[in-house]
Symmetry: C2
Subunit: 134 residues, 2 copies
């Protein structure tokens, strides 16, 4: 029944923003505070991220669990771990060391701080050697 993730309020703000209006201008139009417009816009963008992540997850359904990057691990040690585990399963990882690190960081920027893993990251791999994170 329910439509997409975005509320009417959120869509409204995104449309005005697309037109180039400032948060202040929008606040006046929809009769609320600029802080509130900010909150609504932020929530909207978060919802869009969540929608993307949700569809990303579907790929992991075709994938199997490979290993866990534990909190505190040095990011530079992740590739070796991943390559080793993939080999055990007879799978070839699609990414070289550099691409792998970039993919890790790009996929979940908030899970890494500098070279360190901030919270456990589950690694999944499919037959094509593509990696997904959960």
């Amino acid at each position: 029944m329910k439509q997409g993730l975005l509320t009417d309020r959120q869509k409204e703000v995104l449309r005005y923003r697309k037109k180039g209006l400032t948060q202040q201008q929008i606040a006046e139009i929809i009769h609320t505070s600029k802080a509130n417009v900010c909150t609504i816009e932020k929530a909207a963008l978060e919802n869009i991220s969540r929608a993307r992540e949700t569809l990303e997850f579907l790929y992991t359904l075709d994938a199997v669990h490979l290993c866990t990057l534990q909190s505190g691990l040095d990011l530079l040690k992740a590739p070796e771990l991943i390559y080793t585990e993939a080999e055990k399963k007879g799978l070839k990882v699609k990414y070289d060391t550099i691409s792998l690190i970039n993919r890790l960081r790009d996929a979940n920027p908030e899970r890494f701080r500098g070279r360190q893993v901030r919270e456990d990251v589950e690694i999944y791999i499919n037959k094509d050697g593509d990696l997904y994170f959960g």
Copy 2:
């Protein structure tokens, strides 16, 4: 902060389903009733739909409102209306009559019954002549 739309429970059920387990089998594994497994799976699929719809909406941001298909309209009369309105805006619709009808029905199956529009459908068009519905 929050990850995707799916809860851990929902992901768990989807993974077991992917493996081919029945709802009853999953119910035993996760210690609940099969009715509950059904509910969780249904909620998961609904969330996936919502994620798709959310990203669809982003396209309408680049699009402008073209016209409204009003409740009760004959679906076969929609293409003419749409072509006429697009022409007024100097835009060329990307779809021929047949593809257009199919796209309309595929995009929102629940909004049509046979040849009839069940509830208002807003039509948006972008510069490429692509159509989106809201």
